[in-house]
Amino acid sequence: MNAAQVSPGSGEIYTETVVHSAPEALLAEAPYQIAIVALDAGGRLTARIEGERVSIGDRVDFVEYRNGVAFFAKRK
């Protein structure tokens, strides 16, 4: 099992931004939100947020890896 297959679990939003001016590869997805997640297991991870927008302090759960990028979603 490589690192990209291990779930980083849950965490809290340390900081976030909604990217409007996207790099070429992500133009079709803009605007999209990215965040630095403070993981419950320790350490921080830069991830994409899917669904509802999040703010600093929000709880988030890992959803899945897509092309090696971790996606998180706001805890309901």
């Binding site: 900081t15 976030e16 931004t17 990217v19 996207a22 790099p23 997805e29 990215i34 971790a70």
Partner: protein
């Protein structure tokens, strides 16, 4: 260690110059600098080139001898320094080091970047290569996005507002409008800055520095020989270069740049004084939040107090601590590899009393701060009357 001086400066205007290539910009700045110091190319002992991404922007590698030979400098070490946006600050630090150590006498330091020949999305991609491609950039971060996340956290922890960020842009645009070398000579209002096109929340177009072409050069010499070249030598009173993580998510506290804090402490120690003695500064405002944080890291303002400090007008040319009188990266422009040396040129012009409409009343000790990436390289230089 020998005392070191800047004995010559040279610049090109900053802007978008479709008919100029990298070499011609670098050569123009270098020749202006040699002329300023009345030095022939054959007298130069070493050539340092600060350049971030020439191989990506224009395709040319082996840039230092490529430019040096065109200036007429050959048969000496010619080396390119790359430290993202702190490339030429780093080139200058290493020029200082070899002159201070007595290895070389005359070192010509040139910073250059030719950015506007690439379409904007490609420029963004090249700039992003200064971040961690395996993590933050892969996840969709651009450079504005990294600084947007820094701004969000600073706002959260210290109550910094978008109005504070806008105050940086408004001040630097007002200054740049008076600088004949500036890329953008356009005065803006707080309302305009706040209503700018969103780039990465909370940053708008007016929070971001410009994509520019341009070059700048300085000639470094031992202070004991400075009188051979100029009647107005400027002494390097303190200097340091430091490093830190490239990836933002590896840093403990993103509301500060530890590389800048440490470089500032070391430079102050070398100079034998502290922030209160700095009369003016050129700070690395690649994004408005970066100027606010740099002021805090360098001790101009308390932690978290940088925003109000700017908004109260204390860093305007008429304030107690003028910052980015040149217009900064925001308005003067940010040809990445040229920025560090261009800051030094602007400080030297102030110290010599040659800054024209931008000339400050108190101008004997100035500080330049050059930041690489989102804080992985820091260079702080304190210059003063010799």
């Amino acid at each position: 260690m020998r005392a070191v001086a800047v004995v010559g400066i040279g610049k090109t205007p900053f802007g978008a110059f479709p008919n100029r290539d990298l070499r011609s910009l670098a050569v123009e700045a270098a020749e202006n600098c040699l002329a300023d110091a009345h030095v022939r190319p054959s007298q130069v002992d070493a050539f340092h080139l600060g350049n971030f991404a020439g191989p990506s922007f224009v395709g040319q590698s082996h840039l230092a001898p490529y430019v040096a030979a065109s200036v007429g400098v050959s048969g000496v070490p010619a080396t390119r320094f790359e430290a993202a946006c702190a490339s030429s600050g780093s080139a200058f630090f290493h020029a200082f080091s070899i002159v201070a150590a007595g290895i070389c006498d005359l070192v010509l330091v040139v910073g250059v970047e030719k950015m506007t020949s690439q379409p904007t999305p490609r420029v963004a991609e090249i700039l992003a290569s200064a971040g961690d491609l395996s993590g933050e950039i892969k996840a969709g971060a651009t450079f504005p996005a990294l600084f947007a996340m820094i701004a969000r956290r600073h706002m959260h922890q210290y109550g910094t507002t978008r109005e504070h960020l806008a105050a940086v842009a408004v001040k630097n645009h007002a200054n740049g409008a008076k600088n004949p070398y500036a890329h953008m000579k356009k005065v803006i209002t707080v309302e305009q800055a706040l209503a700018g096109k969103p780039v990465a929340d909370p940053l708008t177009l007016y929070d971001c520095s410009l994509v520019s072409d341009g070059a700048a050069a300085v000639l470094v010499a031992p202070l004991e020989r400075a009188a051979e070249f100029t009647s107005k030598p400027v002494r390097v009173l303190g200097i340091a270069q430091t490093s830190d993580h490239v990836a933002l998510d590896q840093k403990e506290d993103i509301t500060s740049f530890p590389a800048i804090r440490k470089a500032g402490e070391k430079a102050y120690r070398m100079a034998g004084f502290g922030p209160a003695d700095i009369e003016f500064a050129e700070l690395h405002d690649c994004f408005t939040i970066a100027e606010i944080i740099a002021m805090e890291d360098l001790g101009f303002a308390g932690k978290g107090e940088g925003g109000p400090y700017v908004a109260e007008g204390r860093t305007c040319p008429s304030g107690e601590k003028p910052v980015n009188t040149s217009g900064g990266l925001k308005a003067k422009g940010h040809p990445v590899g040229a920025t560090g040396v261009a800051q030094l040129c602007d400080i030297v012009m102030q110290i010599r009393g040659e800054a024209g409409e931008l000339q400050l009343r108190r101008h004997s000790i100035g500080l330049a701060q050059n930041l690489g990436g989102s804080g992985a390289t820091g260079v702080v230089t304190i210059l003063g009357e010799a």
